[in-house]
Symmetry: D2
Subunit: 184 residues, 4 copies
């Protein structure tokens, strides 16, 4: 939920969507609904063998790793938002297995004020429904992402990787690994 | 999520909160974040023995039953919103046991257009995190509610009771009962 | 969890597995660990469009419908037991998507005494971890099943279909539909 | 799930329960059903502020920390087993809030062979349903436990504390903290 992670998504808004002014006001007055997806590779028994992280460069030139993340739009179902953001970040042939149940494994509350929760987004108060999403197809990072790296659950929890994730997404990733029984 | 359920909550908004115009615009352009709580009585083993439903009269003079439901405010944690709405609807000594985990049992997506999902709210697109909340204290319906009725899980799933719940809350109640193993 | 549902599974036990006497004794003294799988077809957004039910004839000549269900063996992971039972009942090319997380949507406790819980198994005390499992391949009923019928969530909750399910599996199926947001 | 953790529980078995020989045979041929409870203190909003760990001395004289854990008996409901083990380990006035839903936050599979899963029990194959259980009363360690220590979530995830937990319970504790949003 860094600026870089969200900026490229702005232009796709259809006509009638919020103007920059209106979105600015909403961000200062309402919690915004997001989804976070943790893309994973699973084996035949459903066991997670790898987790996919997007590699980006922040405006400050720092490398950062990120989950698939984005806003739920007006009149869009959560499951459709999940699919849309995964296709936008991983490409059209990632073949994601969107969960049958809307029950997220956790709810990440990104506050503009650091320290209220472990998640932080300086731009806004975003509440994100978080899902683990197996993908079985070809994943190609899109738009602003330089690369998509597949890490083992052990590598994903590594201190260095965690440092490269911002806003609490490193924690969210480890919560996902805990949920699938792969927290190191 | 009827008008009656939400109207009395408007006055409590602090200064700086959305103006009626702004909330009107937000409702037409963004999904709003809500919580739904299903208040229950449990026995010593945690088994649900009764579910609490608020009884209200709609502006049209029709009796309706409702769950505890309301918006999550800017810079408010989901668990604090749950506590606030339960205290507002059930009184200050209900002694709710707010869940330790933010994982809801389901996510109810109320669309302004009927039929997109089983939930419907003509005013807005509301996405609600739904929790079962045991309450062990004295519950006294507040404000616009006429009564709080404690029903057995079987009574709560009864056709007549279901008819008295609007916007899909009857379904949400049955999903809650399914989650706790008490769907008849 | 009828006799017919389980009998064909007995012969497959490897050498060293429990003798008929030993299993008989275990059944009278220990809760046995089972898995229940609700096979579903999902659309691109993960929404459940159909649920698969096995059609069998009981020894008494009565038609019955059943979920995929079976015991977890010694030194077998729950996810491997899920895969094994799905392949045994739906064939080798069903392509099940075994859940990445071991968290079941519910735990069904089949008691030998009716009425303790909504689930009943006259032979034993079985505790079953229940999962919704999307299958994307060709499903062919195996062994003792006459057919595999794909029903819509609405049809699956129909009174007549529910009557054809025994031991509480009709309820378990409706709980699964509640979990995926498709309870009628 | 060390020997010490379970031994004191043997004498309480009612007449008709498994003989030592029979339990020995069951342990070598069947997965046994267990429950694990993570006792926590929560604040008014349900946020976990402390986690309770039992302090024991192993037969080898080593200090170890443990969760509340024990077997589900024949004809016993999972929620009753949870209550029984909590009362046995924390005393009769711990006032546990047994979860309304049977859905565990995870399933811990303790294998007799190390490395199959992250959990290990040299005596047996035990499959444990794991729950976070808020306790609001007075907790007094019973029987073989020397003490019950209340740690913050941060302290509980500390490397030294983790080292004092055996069989994978340190991981299970961190999974519990991930589930309640308190993984450091």
């Amino acid at each position: 939920m860094t600026d870089t992670a969200d900026f490229p998504r702005e232009p796709e808004r259809p006509a009638g969507w919020l103007s920059p002014d209106a979105i600015q006001q909403a961000r200062a007055t309402l919690p915004l609904l997001y989804v976070d997806a943790v893309p994973v590779r699973v084996d035949e028994s459903g066991d997670v063998v790898a987790v996919g992280l997007l590699l980006r460069v922040t405006p400050e030139g720092v490398m950062s790793r990120a989950l698939v993340s984005g806003r739920v739009m007006y009149h869009e179902r959560v499951r459709d938002a999940l699919l849309r953001h995964i296709e936008k970040d991983l490409g059209p042939v990632a073949l994601p297995q969107i969960p049958a149940s809307p029950q997220p494994f956790t709810v990440a509350e990104y506050f503009p004020t650091p320290g209220v929760t472990p998640y932080h987004d300086p731009r806004q108060h975003a509440v994100s429904l978080a899902y683990v999403v197996p993908v079985s197809g070809d994943c190609r990072p899109q738009q602003d992402a330089l690369d998509l790296a597949w890490l083992t659950p052990e590598q994903a929890a590594d201190h260095q990787v965690q440092l490269e994730m911002t806003g609490g997404q490193g924690l969210l990733l480890r919560q996902a690994m805990a949920h699938v029984g792969r927290l190191p």
